[in-house]
């Protein structure tokens, strides 16, 4: 049977790992190549780099990090952040990424999703969506690292992303990101039933039970940052908890 995946996520700024709370208050959390390799050895199923480097000149550091990482870890590598064209995607794939995540640029130019899917296959096209709950219990899509509301309904956007050829949805709850209060199970459960592509839950994991709960509502993968970076738990403990709850894992 197909396993549920555990994906450590490294936010990378100018070649260093950082992690913030609610998308601000950025702290240094280490060397991305070393950290990716450590998670690889501990049994990570995939690694995700989100490049949050603001200036495009400083991006060279990101390509170097990807190249070095791809020579040391032999599991899939997803890279996102600042991807605004097929050329950007091609550069990341050439550097050694297996999948490319698009976020803000896809909102501005939804065709980017189909262009990437058509050029490299749907399996390469991850659409990252940052959402916040509205007072009326719907969810709104935010861009620019969570600073800008778009007025777009998250459910509509997930459907559209799938129609355009997205191979996977990386769904981040900004309300929960970095808070360790658990994934937003409501939107993750809706999303998992909505589209026939994998959903990666992101934002809010604070305990082993939170991760188990996300899998129980039907997501395919769980993205983890603070829990692992600050050694609150380990991949081994997470997988033991999954096994104890009869969730397929490797």
């Amino acid at each position: 049977m197909l396993c549920k995946r555990i994906i450590p996520c490294l936010d990378v700024d100018k070649g260093r790992v950082v992690k913030g709370t609610n998308f601000v208050d950025i702290k240094d959390a280490g060397d991305p190549i070393e950290l990716a390799h450590k998670y690889y050895q501990e049994g990570a199923d995939e690694i995700c780099f989100l490049d949050i480097t603001a200036s495009s000149e400083a991006r060279k550091a990101t390509y170097e990090v990807i190249e070095a990482t791809a020579k040391k870890i032999f599991i899939p590598l997803t890279v996102g952040g600042g991807v605004s064209s097929v050329d950007d995607a091609a550069r990341l794939l050439q550097a050694g990424a297996d999948k490319v995540a698009v976020n803000s640029s896809a909102i501005k130019n939804p065709d980017l999703i189909s262009q990437i899917a058509n050029s490299f296959g749907s399996q390469c096209a991850v659409v990252a969506i940052d959402v916040k709950k509205n007072p009326d219990n719907s969810w709104q899509v935010y861009v620019k690292g969570g600073r800008e509301a778009t007025g777009i309904d998250a459910i509509e956007w997930i459907k559209r992303a799938y129609d355009l050829g997205a191979g996977e949805i990386l769904l981040t709850s900004m309300d929960r990101d970095g808070t360790k209060t658990g994934y937003d199970l409501e939107i993750n459960s809706l999303a998992a039933k909505l589209v026939p592509i994998p959903i990666i839950a992101s934002g809010g994991a604070g305990s082993l039970q939170d991760i188990v709960d996300a899998f129980k509502v039907g997501v395919d993968a769980a993205l983890l940052a603070s829990l692992l970076h600050y050694q609150i738990t380990s991949i081994k403990e997470i997988k033991d908890a999954m096994r104890a709850n009869l969730i397929e894992t490797r």
Partner: protein
């Protein structure tokens, strides 16, 4: 020396080379038919569509080179689409002919049965006796990403007729499909990506280079 076939579809060529370098293999990347015909050992990687892969293979004149090298018992490992095109026919895009070495069709997972397509992630591979799985636990998982597959039991009889010594490993993703093929001699194929399957995948590649 391992010759890795480059048929210009980009794909996972670099990942395959990275993993081969990590296990200390000597590699040469080639899209030259003569070089491939004379190669000592061949790895044939691939991602992308069946149809596009076949077009590129033919336009580079690699179809005959691949068939000849397999016929002269060169150790050969096809990966993902590099496995699929060894079959007779693919249903991705328009129906297109493959290299017609292994009997069978490459068909899409049935959307009525499979809730999510592609089959993407880690799964087990069940079978026995292929030398590529030497010293690998049957509980190990391998990384898959594909929407099309050679389904079991279609054509098993024909495969056994053509390759009486063949050995088939299968994987379940709502449907059962061939995840590893060994003809009993020199031809190996994997639907999964050993180059992305962690230490178990590296072990499998090592078993191939040590054949």
């Amino acid at each position: 020396m391992i010759t890795v076939i480059d048929y210009k579809t980009g794909g996972n060529l670099f990942s395959v080379c990275n993993s081969l370098e990590a296990i200390g293999a000597d590699i040469v990347i080639s899209s030259n038919p003569e070089q491939i015909e004379q190669a000592e050992k061949i790895i044939f990687p691939g991602v992308g569509s069946f149809e596009k892969a076949m077009q590129e293979i033919k336009s580079l004149g690699l179809d005959h080179a691949i068939k000849k090298s397999i016929a002269r018992k060169t150790k050969f490992l096809g990966i993902c689409v590099g496995m699929q095109v060894l079959f007779e026919c693919g249903h991705e895009g328009t129906i297109s002919k493959g290299l017609e070495i292994i009997p069978g069709q490459i068909e899409k997972f049935d959307e009525k049965i499979c809730p999510k397509i592609p089959h993407m992630g880690w799964n087990t591979v069940k079978g026995n006796a292929s030398p590529l799985f030497k010293d690998i636990s049957p509980e190990e998982h391998f990384y898959f990403v594909h929407s099309f597959a050679a389904k079991v039991p279609n054509e098993l009889e024909n495969i056994n007729k053509k390759f009486p010594k063949s050995n088939i490993y299968s994987t379940e993703y709502f449907e059962k499909f061939i995840s590893h093929f060994w003809d009993g001699e020199n031809l190996f194929a994997c639907q999964f990506h050993p180059e992305k399957s962690g230490e178990a995948g590296l072990k499998l590649l090592k078993n191939f280079i040590n054949l």
